[in-house]
């Protein structure tokens, strides 16, 4: 009789079945799981049970978000295809079924076009899953300004006012204790021209007019400065494992460099009367769709939970976690690659509510 084996490592697990012809393996990564329960819904043999995700997410309890009964699991792989976070991966002979055409897969992606990207990092900051890294190299400051500066060391009284005032920390005085041999407070003073922006504050603040400085950026800037010197170079990276395709990067990008395809379309409705503002939905939402609004004016009563559906992937986690059934998530469309199997097609269609 063929039997499954199960390996558990911390909160992750792996169910396997091997025959001489084929090896089947389902692995679950708890860290990636968003607790939406689609796997529980899609499993044809009721082998998956969603845990008490509200408590797990809010207390950080050391239990996995789902449980897989290895005695019930038939290793068909449907749960992995339905998972919008790719927390479940199904492999046949060590090859993921995501790479196999006969298996359907959710159509979802997030891409940043480096040619369009201006490396402003808005997406990196906004990404609720910290999946985006923007690496950028900034131009040399000295190449973006032009001017002249000189300190007349004979006139300078080494008061240090310019050093203290310089907003760019470009003036350095070599301070020392005066002695009878050398009764001065400084041995040298110089301007670091890589840092100086010719703002002229030193000149204006010098009590003895020892600094001669002129800024040419305004008058000659267009001639002296090369446009290529002000270019920002960089690259973007999206970690596919963490990315949930929520669309924050696309919505926040000022130059439309990000493109996101979402697996589901739908509707999210919140019954503000039923809501008790417990915040479980806000905590579990992997896409930062939900938040508690602040009143615009004092005395005003805002709605209890605010939603912005532009970021919603309709995974349904908020609806599952809500203890008073105040949230209803409807899926009206499921985007998946075609399959010849009628039973798989029916299952994918059943994700619509």
């Amino acid at each position: 009789m063929v039997a499954n084996t199960k390996e558990v490592k911390a909160k992750d697990m792996c169910v396997k079945r091997s025959s001489p012809e084929e090896k089947r393996e389902l692995s679950f990564k708890d860290e990636i799981c968003v607790g939406c329960g689609i796997c529980e819904q899609i499993c044809p043999v009721e082998a998956i049970e969603l845990g008490d995700i509200g408590a797990i997410v809010r207390t950080g309890a050391e239990v996995p978000k789902i449980s897989i009964d290895e005695n019930k699991c038939v290793l068909c792989g449907m749960c992995s295809v339905g998972c919008p976070a790719d927390a479940l991966e199904f492999k046949l002979d060590d090859i993921s079924i995501k790479e196999m055409d006969e298996y359907p897969s959710l159509i979802k992606s997030a891409e940043i076009d480096d040619d369009t990207c201006i490396y402003c990092k808005a997406c990196e900051t906004a990404c609720p899953r910290e999946a985006i890294t923007i690496a950028r190299s900034l131009p040399d400051r000295s190449k973006l300004v032009t001017g002249e500066i000189e300190i007349d060391k004979n006139t300078c009284i080494s008061c240090g006012v310019c050093e203290e005032m310089c907003p760019a920390d470009a003036i350095v005085m070599e301070h020392h204790e005066p002695t009878s041999v050398d009764p001065t407070v400084s041995s040298d003073i110089y301007v670091d021209k890589d840092k100086c922006v010719y703002c002229l504050i030193c000149r204006k603040s010098c009590p003895v007019d020892a600094i001669k400085a002129v800024c040419r950026s305004c008058s000659y800037g267009d001639y002296d400065l090369k446009p290529e010197d002000s270019e920002i170079e960089g690259s973007s990276f999206i970690d596919d494992e963490s990315c949930i395709n929520c669309g924050w990067c696309k919505e926040i990008c000022p130059v439309d460099a990000a493109e996101v395809k979402k697996p589901f379309k739908g509707e999210l409705s919140i019954d503000q009367d039923k809501c008790t503002t417990c915040g479980a939905c806000v905590d579990i939402c992997p896409c930062d769709v939900l938040s508690f609004p602040k009143p615009a004016e004092s005395g005003q009563i805002p709605e209890k939970v605010f939603k912005d559906e532009r970021f919603c992937i309709y995974c349904g986690a908020c609806g599952k976690v809500c203890p008073v059934e105040a949230i209803d998530v409807k899926r009206t469309d499921v985007n998946y690659t075609p399959t010849k199997s009628k039973s798989w097609k029916n299952k994918m269609e059943s994700l619509k509510s």
Binding site: M1, V2, R17, S19, E21, E22, R24, P44, V45, V74, L75, C76, M78, E102, Y103, T339, K340, S341, K342, S343, W344, K347
Partner: protein
Amino acid sequence: MPKHIVSGLKYLTAVELIRDGYNQKEVAKILEMDRSTVSHYLNGRNLSWNSIEVAEIITKFCPRDFLTLTFALLNDSEKTRIIVKTCSKKEFHATVEDSCIGCGLCADTCLMNAIVLDDLKAHIDSEWCCGCLMCGDVCPTNSIKISEEKNGC
């Protein structure tokens, strides 16, 4: 004793194969035996009639018992397949319904290796199906239907 029954089963298979038109050399190859042993078998030597009788009774068991007992005696899936296919007098017709999810449990269970998966659906080769119904027992979606062919004999 088990060895004797195995010899009986091989004898019955050899006789059937010869009847089907194979020569002794081919039979020896199929059953992985010496050609001389096949010759001895066919001439009724080195074999007690008791073991042939017992083997004959086994081939008339219900398909599942015939298959599982043969596999238990031989512990060799390839030879089990050939003996069961050759000695089984019954024919079966297997169909898989569209509710099949392609989990492959049936294919992993089938001792006759009669099942393959294609486009996430099991396909059963009726030629090799021995009617043991073990695939239907493990199928989570109850998608396998197997019926015995009435061939009028």
